[in-house]
Protein backbone atom coordinates (compact mmCIF):
# COMPACT_ATOMS: atom_id res chain seq x y z
CA UNK A 1 0.00 0.00 0.00
CA UNK A 2 1.35 3.45 -0.93
CA UNK A 3 2.04 5.42 2.24
CA UNK A 4 0.24 8.72 2.79
CA UNK A 5 3.07 9.94 4.99
CA UNK A 6 6.67 8.89 4.67
CA UNK A 7 9.27 10.29 7.06
CA UNK A 8 12.93 9.50 7.58
CA UNK A 9 15.45 10.69 10.12
CA UNK A 10 13.33 13.47 11.66
CA UNK A 11 15.22 15.20 14.45
CA UNK A 12 14.43 18.33 16.40
CA UNK A 13 16.16 19.86 19.39
CA UNK A 14 14.86 22.59 21.70
CA UNK A 15 17.69 23.94 23.81
CA UNK A 16 19.09 20.96 25.70
CA UNK A 17 16.16 18.69 24.90
CA UNK A 18 16.26 16.27 21.98
CA UNK A 19 12.54 16.34 21.27
CA UNK A 20 12.79 14.10 18.20
CA UNK A 21 15.69 11.75 17.57
CA UNK A 22 15.98 10.16 14.14
CA UNK A 23 12.30 9.31 13.71
CA UNK A 24 11.32 7.38 10.61
CA UNK A 25 7.83 6.12 9.83
CA UNK A 26 5.34 5.38 7.09
CA UNK A 27 1.62 5.93 7.57
CA UNK A 28 -1.09 4.37 5.46
CA UNK A 29 -4.87 4.70 5.33
CA UNK A 30 -6.69 4.05 8.61
CA UNK A 31 -6.12 5.13 12.21
CA UNK A 32 -2.59 4.83 13.59
CA UNK A 33 -2.19 5.33 17.33
CA UNK A 34 0.75 7.14 18.87
CA UNK A 35 1.36 6.20 22.49
CA UNK A 36 3.99 7.52 24.87
CA UNK A 37 4.52 9.15 28.24
CA UNK A 38 4.57 12.92 28.75
CA UNK A 39 7.67 14.41 27.16
CA UNK A 40 8.11 11.45 24.79
CA UNK A 41 7.99 13.71 21.74
CA UNK A 42 4.49 12.85 20.53
CA UNK A 43 3.22 16.42 20.22
CA UNK A 44 6.48 17.54 18.62
CA UNK A 45 6.24 14.76 16.03
CA UNK A 46 2.63 15.70 15.31
CA UNK A 47 3.53 19.39 14.98
CA UNK A 48 6.36 18.57 12.58
CA UNK A 49 4.11 16.35 10.44
CA UNK A 50 1.42 19.08 10.55
CA UNK A 51 3.99 21.60 9.21
CA UNK A 52 3.55 23.70 12.37
CA UNK A 53 7.25 23.54 13.16
CA UNK A 54 10.14 22.55 10.88
CA UNK A 55 12.51 19.74 11.86
CA UNK A 56 16.25 20.33 12.27
CA UNK A 57 17.10 17.27 10.20
CA UNK A 58 15.32 14.62 8.20
CA UNK A 59 12.59 14.78 5.62
CA UNK A 60 9.02 13.72 5.09
CA UNK A 61 6.32 13.78 2.46
CA UNK A 62 2.55 13.86 2.73
CA UNK A 63 0.73 12.41 -0.28
CA UNK A 64 3.94 12.93 -2.22
CA UNK A 65 4.37 16.61 -1.31
CA UNK A 66 7.55 17.75 0.39
CA UNK A 67 6.99 20.55 2.96
CA UNK A 68 10.68 21.54 2.87
CA UNK A 69 9.72 24.13 0.27
CA UNK A 70 7.09 26.85 0.60
CA UNK A 71 5.20 25.40 -2.39
CA UNK A 72 5.28 21.88 -0.99
CA UNK A 73 4.15 23.07 2.42
CA UNK A 74 1.13 24.75 0.89
CA UNK A 75 0.20 21.54 -0.91
CA UNK A 76 0.62 19.51 2.29
CA UNK A 77 -1.63 21.97 4.11
CA UNK A 78 -4.33 21.56 1.50
CA UNK A 79 -4.43 17.86 2.43
CA UNK A 80 -4.17 18.32 6.17
CA UNK A 81 -6.59 18.44 9.09
CA UNK A 82 -5.03 19.26 12.45
CA UNK A 83 -6.54 19.06 15.93
CA UNK A 84 -3.95 20.35 18.41
CA UNK A 85 -3.82 19.47 22.09
CA UNK A 86 -5.15 22.91 23.11
CA UNK A 87 -7.16 24.13 20.14
CA UNK A 88 -8.27 27.55 21.40
CA UNK A 89 -11.23 29.41 19.93
CA UNK A 90 -12.55 32.88 19.30
CA UNK A 91 -15.22 32.60 22.01
CA UNK A 92 -17.66 35.10 20.45
CA UNK A 93 -17.88 33.09 17.23
CA UNK A 94 -20.70 30.59 16.84
CA UNK A 95 -19.75 27.00 16.05
CA UNK A 96 -20.74 27.61 12.42
CA UNK A 97 -18.83 30.89 12.18
CA UNK A 98 -15.69 29.37 13.65
CA UNK A 99 -15.62 26.34 11.34
CA UNK A 100 -16.45 28.68 8.44
CA UNK A 101 -13.51 30.89 9.49
CA UNK A 102 -11.16 27.89 9.39
CA UNK A 103 -12.65 26.89 6.02
CA UNK A 104 -11.92 30.38 4.68
CA UNK A 105 -8.32 30.07 5.91
CA UNK A 106 -8.17 26.72 4.10
CA UNK A 107 -9.06 28.69 0.96
CA UNK A 108 -12.48 27.18 0.33
CA UNK A 109 -13.43 30.23 -1.65
CA UNK A 110 -16.87 29.41 -3.06
CA UNK A 111 -19.20 30.64 -0.31
CA UNK A 112 -22.13 28.37 -1.12
CA UNK A 113 -20.00 25.24 -1.38
CA UNK A 114 -18.09 26.24 1.72
CA UNK A 115 -21.22 26.70 3.80
CA UNK A 116 -22.49 23.32 2.64
CA UNK A 117 -19.15 21.79 3.67
CA UNK A 118 -19.30 23.49 7.09
CA UNK A 119 -22.82 22.18 7.65
CA UNK A 120 -21.67 18.71 6.56
CA UNK A 121 -18.81 18.52 9.06
CA UNK A 122 -20.93 19.97 11.86
CA UNK A 123 -23.52 17.28 11.09
CA UNK A 124 -20.72 14.69 11.07
CA UNK A 125 -19.64 15.63 14.59
CA UNK A 126 -23.26 15.83 15.73
CA UNK A 127 -23.34 19.59 16.33
CA UNK A 128 -26.01 20.53 13.80
CA UNK A 129 -28.41 21.57 16.56
CA UNK A 130 -26.00 24.00 18.21
CA UNK A 131 -24.24 25.42 15.17
CA UNK A 132 -25.73 28.87 15.85
CA UNK A 133 -24.63 28.85 19.49
CA UNK A 134 -21.61 30.88 20.63
CA UNK A 135 -18.59 28.73 21.43
CA UNK A 136 -18.27 30.23 24.92
CA UNK A 137 -21.70 28.76 25.72
CA UNK A 138 -20.74 25.22 24.63
CA UNK A 139 -19.52 22.44 26.93
CA UNK A 140 -15.91 21.21 26.80
CA UNK A 141 -16.91 18.12 24.84
CA UNK A 142 -18.85 20.19 22.31
CA UNK A 143 -15.91 22.57 21.87
CA UNK A 144 -13.66 19.60 21.21
CA UNK A 145 -16.11 18.48 18.51
CA UNK A 146 -16.06 21.99 17.02
CA UNK A 147 -12.28 21.67 16.82
CA UNK A 148 -12.63 18.24 15.16
CA UNK A 149 -15.11 19.72 12.68
CA UNK A 150 -12.57 22.47 11.91
CA UNK A 151 -9.94 19.77 11.29
CA UNK A 152 -12.31 17.81 9.04
CA UNK A 153 -13.50 20.73 6.95
CA UNK A 154 -12.27 20.48 3.37
CA UNK A 155 -12.13 16.66 3.56
CA UNK A 156 -8.36 16.36 4.25
CA UNK A 157 -6.51 13.20 3.26
CA UNK A 158 -4.31 13.28 6.37
CA UNK A 159 -5.75 13.97 9.81
CA UNK A 160 -3.52 14.69 12.81
CA UNK A 161 -5.23 14.44 16.22
CA UNK A 162 -3.30 15.35 19.37
CA UNK A 163 -4.91 13.81 22.47
CA UNK A 164 -8.47 14.58 21.39
CA UNK A 165 -10.12 12.61 24.20
CA UNK A 166 -8.33 14.31 27.10
CA UNK A 167 -10.76 15.85 29.58
CA UNK A 168 -13.83 14.14 28.13
CA UNK A 169 -16.18 12.07 30.27
CA UNK A 170 -16.61 8.37 29.34
CA UNK A 171 -19.73 8.99 27.25
CA UNK A 172 -18.12 11.87 25.35
CA UNK A 173 -14.97 9.79 24.87
CA UNK A 174 -16.99 6.95 23.41
CA UNK A 175 -18.77 9.39 21.08
CA UNK A 176 -15.43 10.83 20.04
CA UNK A 177 -14.09 7.35 19.30
CA UNK A 178 -17.02 6.79 16.94
CA UNK A 179 -16.17 10.05 15.19
CA UNK A 180 -12.49 9.19 14.86
CA UNK A 181 -13.29 5.70 13.57
CA UNK A 182 -15.60 7.26 10.99
CA UNK A 183 -12.96 9.87 10.09
CA UNK A 184 -10.43 7.08 9.55
CA UNK A 185 -12.51 5.48 6.78
CA UNK A 186 -10.70 6.27 3.57
CA UNK A 187 -8.14 8.65 5.03
CA UNK A 188 -4.97 8.48 7.11
CA UNK A 189 -5.36 9.46 10.76
CA UNK A 190 -2.51 9.81 13.25
CA UNK A 191 -3.94 9.79 16.77
CA UNK A 192 -1.77 10.75 19.73
CA UNK A 193 -3.21 9.53 23.02
CA UNK A 194 -2.46 8.42 26.56
CA UNK A 195 -5.43 6.08 26.45
CA UNK A 196 -4.49 2.54 25.48
CA UNK A 197 -8.23 1.83 25.21
CA UNK A 198 -8.41 4.37 22.37
CA UNK A 199 -5.70 2.48 20.53
CA UNK A 200 -7.20 -0.94 21.23
CA UNK A 201 -10.61 0.16 19.96
CA UNK A 202 -9.63 2.33 17.00
CA UNK A 203 -6.21 1.63 15.57
CA UNK A 204 -4.96 -0.85 13.00
CA UNK A 205 -1.42 0.12 13.94
CA UNK A 206 0.35 1.62 16.92
CA UNK A 207 3.61 3.50 17.43
CA UNK A 208 5.16 3.85 20.89
CA UNK A 209 7.45 6.82 21.50
CA UNK A 210 9.84 7.47 24.37
CA UNK A 211 12.78 9.85 24.60
CA UNK A 212 12.07 11.28 21.15
CA UNK A 213 12.38 7.91 19.40
CA UNK A 214 9.98 5.31 18.04
CA UNK A 215 10.29 2.29 20.33
CA UNK A 216 7.61 0.12 18.78
CA UNK A 217 5.89 0.05 15.42
CA UNK A 218 3.34 -2.68 14.78
CA UNK A 219 -0.22 -3.76 15.28
CA UNK A 220 -2.01 -3.50 18.65
CA UNK A 221 -2.03 -7.31 18.75
CA UNK A 222 1.76 -7.37 18.32
CA UNK A 223 2.18 -4.83 21.13
CA UNK A 224 -0.05 -6.93 23.36
CA UNK A 225 1.92 -10.05 22.42
CA UNK A 226 5.08 -8.41 23.80
CA UNK A 227 3.62 -9.02 27.25
CA UNK A 228 2.76 -12.67 26.63
CA UNK A 229 4.17 -14.74 29.49
CA UNK A 230 5.13 -11.57 31.40
CA UNK A 231 1.92 -10.91 33.31
CA UNK A 232 1.00 -12.94 36.35
CA UNK A 233 -1.21 -13.02 39.38
CA UNK A 234 -0.12 -13.23 43.02
CA UNK A 235 -1.59 -12.77 46.46
CA UNK A 236 1.03 -10.12 47.36
CA UNK A 237 2.76 -7.54 45.21
CA UNK A 238 5.73 -9.27 43.63
CA UNK A 239 8.85 -7.21 44.46
CA UNK A 240 10.49 -8.44 41.26
CA UNK A 241 7.72 -7.01 39.07
CA UNK A 242 8.23 -3.90 36.93
CA UNK A 243 4.72 -2.84 37.91
CA UNK A 244 2.07 -4.40 40.10
CA UNK A 245 -1.28 -3.39 41.47
CA UNK A 246 -4.14 -4.83 43.46
CA UNK A 247 -7.13 -5.62 41.29
CA UNK A 248 -10.79 -5.53 42.22
CA UNK A 249 -10.68 -9.23 43.12
CA UNK A 250 -8.04 -8.60 45.78
CA UNK A 251 -5.22 -10.39 43.96
CA UNK A 252 -2.22 -8.56 42.50
CA UNK A 253 -1.57 -8.22 38.79
CA UNK A 254 2.17 -8.08 38.11
CA UNK A 255 4.02 -7.17 34.93
CA UNK A 256 7.68 -8.02 34.33
CA UNK A 257 9.62 -11.26 34.57
CA UNK A 258 7.45 -13.83 36.37
CA UNK A 259 8.92 -16.26 38.91
CA UNK A 260 8.83 -19.97 38.16
CA UNK A 261 5.41 -21.47 38.57
CA UNK A 262 3.61 -18.12 38.52
CA UNK A 263 -0.04 -18.05 37.50
CA UNK A 264 0.20 -16.34 34.11
CA UNK A 265 -2.56 -13.98 32.97
CA UNK A 266 -3.80 -12.90 29.56
CA UNK A 267 -1.86 -9.73 28.65
CA UNK A 268 -3.49 -6.49 27.58
CA UNK A 269 -2.32 -3.73 25.27
CA UNK A 270 -1.44 -1.66 28.33
CA UNK A 271 0.84 -4.43 29.62
CA UNK A 272 2.66 -4.48 26.29
CA UNK A 273 2.94 -0.71 26.34
CA UNK A 274 4.34 -0.65 29.91
CA UNK A 275 6.93 -3.29 29.09
CA UNK A 276 7.94 -1.47 25.90
CA UNK A 277 8.50 1.72 27.89
CA UNK A 278 10.46 -0.23 30.47
CA UNK A 279 12.66 -1.78 27.77
CA UNK A 280 13.16 1.72 26.28
CA UNK A 281 14.19 3.05 29.71
CA UNK A 282 16.71 0.24 30.12
CA UNK A 283 18.07 0.94 26.64
CA UNK A 284 18.53 4.63 27.47
CA UNK A 285 20.18 3.78 30.79
CA UNK A 286 22.56 1.36 29.07
CA UNK A 287 23.47 3.99 26.46
Amino acid sequence: MTPTVSASGLSLRFGGTQALDDVSLRLTSGVTGLLGPNGAGKTTLLRVLATAVPADRGAFTVLGYDPATAAGRQEVRRELGYLPQTPGFHPDFTAFEFVDYVAILKELTDRGARHREVRRVLDEVDLADVRGKRIKKLSGGMRQRVALAAALVGDPGFLVLDEPTVGLDPEQRMRFRELIAHAGEGRTVLLSTHQTEDVAMLCHRVLVMAGGRIRFDGTPAELTARAAGRVWSSTERDPGAKAGWRTGTGSFRNVGSPPDGAELLEPTLEDGYLLTLDDAGAEVAAA
Binding site: R47, A50, A52, Y82, P87, G88, K106, R114
Partner: protein, 230 residues
Protein backbone atom coordinates in the same frame (compact mmCIF):
# COMPACT_ATOMS: atom_id res chain seq x y z
CA UNK B 1 -7.22 26.63 -5.44
CA UNK B 2 -4.26 28.90 -6.09
CA UNK B 3 -0.68 27.89 -6.62
CA UNK B 4 1.97 28.68 -4.01
CA UNK B 5 2.67 32.14 -5.40
CA UNK B 6 -0.94 33.26 -5.40
CA UNK B 7 -2.47 35.02 -2.44
CA UNK B 8 -6.22 34.76 -2.20
CA UNK B 9 -7.64 37.71 -0.29
CA UNK B 10 -11.40 37.42 -0.59
CA UNK B 11 -14.05 39.59 1.00
CA UNK B 12 -14.89 36.62 3.21
CA UNK B 13 -11.28 36.44 4.40
CA UNK B 14 -11.21 40.17 5.14
CA UNK B 15 -14.44 40.07 7.15
CA UNK B 16 -13.40 36.88 8.97
CA UNK B 17 -10.02 38.35 9.93
CA UNK B 18 -11.71 41.60 10.96
CA UNK B 19 -13.76 39.63 13.48
CA UNK B 20 -10.61 38.16 15.02
CA UNK B 21 -8.96 41.56 15.61
CA UNK B 22 -8.82 42.26 19.37
CA UNK B 23 -10.88 45.43 19.06
CA UNK B 24 -11.48 45.66 22.82
CA UNK B 25 -7.77 46.02 23.59
CA UNK B 26 -7.40 48.58 20.80
CA UNK B 27 -10.45 50.49 22.03
CA UNK B 28 -9.08 50.48 25.57
CA UNK B 29 -5.74 51.87 24.41
CA UNK B 30 -7.40 54.40 22.14
CA UNK B 31 -9.95 55.51 24.74
CA UNK B 32 -7.32 55.88 27.45
CA UNK B 33 -5.09 57.80 25.04
CA UNK B 34 -7.83 60.27 24.11
CA UNK B 35 -8.67 60.72 27.78
CA UNK B 36 -5.04 61.58 28.52
CA UNK B 37 -4.90 64.17 25.74
CA UNK B 38 -8.24 65.65 26.86
CA UNK B 39 -7.19 65.95 30.52
CA UNK B 40 -6.26 69.68 30.35
CA UNK B 41 -9.64 70.48 28.76
CA UNK B 42 -11.40 68.45 31.43
CA UNK B 43 -9.46 69.79 34.41
CA UNK B 44 -8.76 73.45 33.61
CA UNK B 45 -10.23 76.32 31.63
CA UNK B 46 -7.04 77.54 30.02
CA UNK B 47 -5.14 75.81 27.21
CA UNK B 48 -2.16 73.63 28.20
CA UNK B 49 1.34 74.93 27.54
CA UNK B 50 3.29 73.48 24.66
CA UNK B 51 5.45 71.19 26.79
CA UNK B 52 2.44 69.66 28.57
CA UNK B 53 0.55 69.19 25.30
CA UNK B 54 3.57 67.44 23.73
CA UNK B 55 4.07 65.20 26.77
CA UNK B 56 0.39 64.23 26.81
CA UNK B 57 0.41 63.46 23.09
CA UNK B 58 3.51 61.29 23.50
CA UNK B 59 1.89 59.49 26.44
CA UNK B 60 -1.31 58.98 24.45
CA UNK B 61 0.68 57.55 21.53
CA UNK B 62 2.41 55.14 23.90
CA UNK B 63 -0.87 54.03 25.48
CA UNK B 64 -2.41 53.43 22.03
CA UNK B 65 0.71 51.48 21.04
CA UNK B 66 0.27 49.29 24.12
CA UNK B 67 -3.18 48.43 22.74
CA UNK B 68 -1.52 47.60 19.41
CA UNK B 69 0.73 45.01 21.08
CA UNK B 70 -2.40 42.83 21.31
CA UNK B 71 -3.09 43.08 17.58
CA UNK B 72 -1.58 39.70 16.66
CA UNK B 73 -3.10 37.81 19.60
CA UNK B 74 -5.02 34.81 18.32
CA UNK B 75 -6.62 32.36 20.76
CA UNK B 76 -7.15 29.89 17.89
CA UNK B 77 -3.53 30.11 16.83
CA UNK B 78 -2.63 26.45 17.42
CA UNK B 79 -5.65 25.21 15.51
CA UNK B 80 -5.10 27.55 12.57
CA UNK B 81 -1.35 26.97 12.30
CA UNK B 82 -1.30 24.61 9.32
CA UNK B 83 -3.81 26.37 7.07
CA UNK B 84 -3.28 27.38 3.48
CA UNK B 85 -3.66 31.13 4.04
CA UNK B 86 -0.23 32.20 5.13
CA UNK B 87 0.54 33.97 8.37
CA UNK B 88 1.89 37.12 6.75
CA UNK B 89 -1.38 37.52 4.86
CA UNK B 90 -3.46 37.20 8.03
CA UNK B 91 -1.19 39.45 10.11
CA UNK B 92 -0.85 41.97 7.31
CA UNK B 93 -4.63 42.10 6.94
CA UNK B 94 -5.03 42.89 10.61
CA UNK B 95 -2.63 45.80 10.28
CA UNK B 96 -4.37 47.05 7.13
CA UNK B 97 -7.74 46.87 8.88
CA UNK B 98 -6.50 48.76 11.92
CA UNK B 99 -4.45 51.40 10.06
CA UNK B 100 -7.41 53.67 9.13
CA UNK B 101 -8.76 53.41 12.67
CA UNK B 102 -5.35 54.39 14.04
CA UNK B 103 -5.14 57.33 11.63
CA UNK B 104 -8.57 58.55 12.69
CA UNK B 105 -7.68 58.13 16.33
CA UNK B 106 -4.46 60.11 15.95
CA UNK B 107 -6.31 62.87 14.11
CA UNK B 108 -8.80 63.04 16.98
CA UNK B 109 -5.95 63.18 19.50
CA UNK B 110 -4.33 66.07 17.63
CA UNK B 111 -7.64 67.92 17.35
CA UNK B 112 -8.12 67.65 21.11
CA UNK B 113 -4.96 69.73 21.61
CA UNK B 114 -5.74 73.47 21.23
CA UNK B 115 -4.17 74.96 18.11
CA UNK B 116 -1.82 77.26 20.02
CA UNK B 117 -0.37 74.45 22.14
CA UNK B 118 -0.18 71.85 19.35
CA UNK B 119 3.40 70.69 18.57
CA UNK B 120 4.54 70.39 14.92
CA UNK B 121 2.14 67.80 13.54
CA UNK B 122 4.56 66.07 11.17
CA UNK B 123 7.25 65.55 13.79
CA UNK B 124 4.94 64.34 16.52
CA UNK B 125 3.14 62.07 14.03
CA UNK B 126 6.53 60.55 13.18
CA UNK B 127 7.04 59.82 16.87
CA UNK B 128 3.60 58.23 17.18
CA UNK B 129 4.18 56.16 14.03
CA UNK B 130 7.54 54.94 15.29
CA UNK B 131 6.09 53.91 18.66
CA UNK B 132 3.22 52.10 16.91
CA UNK B 133 5.64 50.32 14.56
CA UNK B 134 7.79 49.35 17.53
CA UNK B 135 4.75 47.81 19.23
CA UNK B 136 3.81 45.87 16.09
CA UNK B 137 7.40 44.67 15.61
CA UNK B 138 7.49 43.46 19.21
CA UNK B 139 4.18 41.61 18.75
CA UNK B 140 5.37 40.00 15.50
CA UNK B 141 8.65 38.98 17.14
CA UNK B 142 6.76 37.34 20.01
CA UNK B 143 4.60 35.41 17.55
CA UNK B 144 7.66 34.34 15.58
CA UNK B 145 9.75 33.20 18.54
CA UNK B 146 7.17 31.69 20.89
CA UNK B 147 4.15 29.41 20.73
CA UNK B 148 2.05 31.69 22.92
CA UNK B 149 -1.36 32.29 21.29
CA UNK B 150 -1.92 35.56 23.12
CA UNK B 151 1.43 37.22 23.87
CA UNK B 152 -0.14 40.70 24.05
CA UNK B 153 0.15 41.26 27.83
CA UNK B 154 3.82 40.22 27.92
CA UNK B 155 4.62 42.27 24.83
CA UNK B 156 2.84 45.33 26.27
CA UNK B 157 4.86 45.01 29.48
CA UNK B 158 8.08 44.67 27.50
CA UNK B 159 7.30 47.70 25.31
CA UNK B 160 6.32 49.83 28.30
CA UNK B 161 9.49 48.84 30.15
CA UNK B 162 11.69 49.46 27.11
CA UNK B 163 10.20 52.88 26.39
CA UNK B 164 10.36 53.94 30.05
CA UNK B 165 13.94 52.78 30.49
CA UNK B 166 14.85 54.32 27.14
CA UNK B 167 13.45 57.69 28.19
CA UNK B 168 15.34 57.52 31.49
CA UNK B 169 18.64 56.04 30.37
CA UNK B 170 19.35 57.37 26.87
CA UNK B 171 22.10 60.00 27.17
CA UNK B 172 20.94 63.57 26.58
CA UNK B 173 22.90 63.93 23.34
CA UNK B 174 20.97 60.99 21.84
CA UNK B 175 17.60 61.94 23.29
CA UNK B 176 14.43 61.07 21.45
CA UNK B 177 12.18 63.23 23.59
CA UNK B 178 13.37 66.75 22.84
CA UNK B 179 11.01 69.65 23.53
CA UNK B 180 9.73 71.96 20.79
CA UNK B 181 12.31 74.68 20.26
CA UNK B 182 15.10 72.52 21.70
CA UNK B 183 18.13 72.62 19.36
CA UNK B 184 18.14 68.79 19.47
CA UNK B 185 14.57 68.63 18.04
CA UNK B 186 15.68 67.97 14.45
CA UNK B 187 18.33 65.39 15.34
CA UNK B 188 15.87 63.65 17.68
CA UNK B 189 13.42 63.24 14.82
CA UNK B 190 16.13 61.88 12.56
CA UNK B 191 16.56 59.22 15.22
CA UNK B 192 12.76 58.68 15.37
CA UNK B 193 12.89 58.03 11.62
CA UNK B 194 15.59 55.41 12.20
CA UNK B 195 13.49 53.79 14.96
CA UNK B 196 10.53 53.69 12.57
CA UNK B 197 12.61 52.14 9.79
CA UNK B 198 14.19 49.51 12.03
CA UNK B 199 10.80 48.61 13.55
CA UNK B 200 9.18 48.22 10.13
CA UNK B 201 12.04 46.00 8.92
CA UNK B 202 11.89 43.89 12.09
CA UNK B 203 8.12 43.55 11.67
CA UNK B 204 8.47 42.52 8.03
CA UNK B 205 11.20 39.98 8.85
CA UNK B 206 9.09 38.35 11.58
CA UNK B 207 5.87 38.11 9.56
CA UNK B 208 6.56 35.09 7.33
CA UNK B 209 6.71 31.65 8.88
CA UNK B 210 9.99 29.75 8.61
CA UNK B 211 10.09 26.74 6.30
CA UNK B 212 13.35 25.55 7.83
CA UNK B 213 15.09 26.14 11.11
CA UNK B 214 18.14 28.16 10.27
CA UNK B 215 18.77 30.55 13.13
CA UNK B 216 21.24 29.69 15.86
CA UNK B 217 18.99 31.75 18.12
CA UNK B 218 16.30 29.06 17.94
CA UNK B 219 18.72 26.26 18.73
CA UNK B 220 19.91 27.99 21.85
CA UNK B 221 16.48 28.70 23.21
CA UNK B 222 14.88 26.65 25.96
CA UNK B 223 11.96 24.34 25.25
CA UNK B 224 9.46 27.08 26.00
CA UNK B 225 10.76 29.19 23.17
CA UNK B 226 10.44 27.35 19.95
CA UNK B 227 10.34 28.66 16.42
CA UNK B 228 6.75 28.96 15.43
CA UNK B 229 5.18 28.98 12.08
CA UNK B 230 1.79 30.07 13.24
Amino acid sequence: MGNERSVIVSGDLVSAVARTVPWRALAAGGGAGLLIVALPRLLSDGPPDGWLALTLLRTAALVFALGLTFLLDDPARHLTTPVVTRRWVRSGLRVVLVAPVAALWWTAALVLVPHGARPPVGAVTLEAGAIAALALAAAATAVRLTDEPEPGPSVAAAVLTTVTLGALLIPARWTLTAAVGDPRWGAAHDRWAVVLGVAVVAWAVCLPEPVRRRSLLFRRRSGTLSPSSV
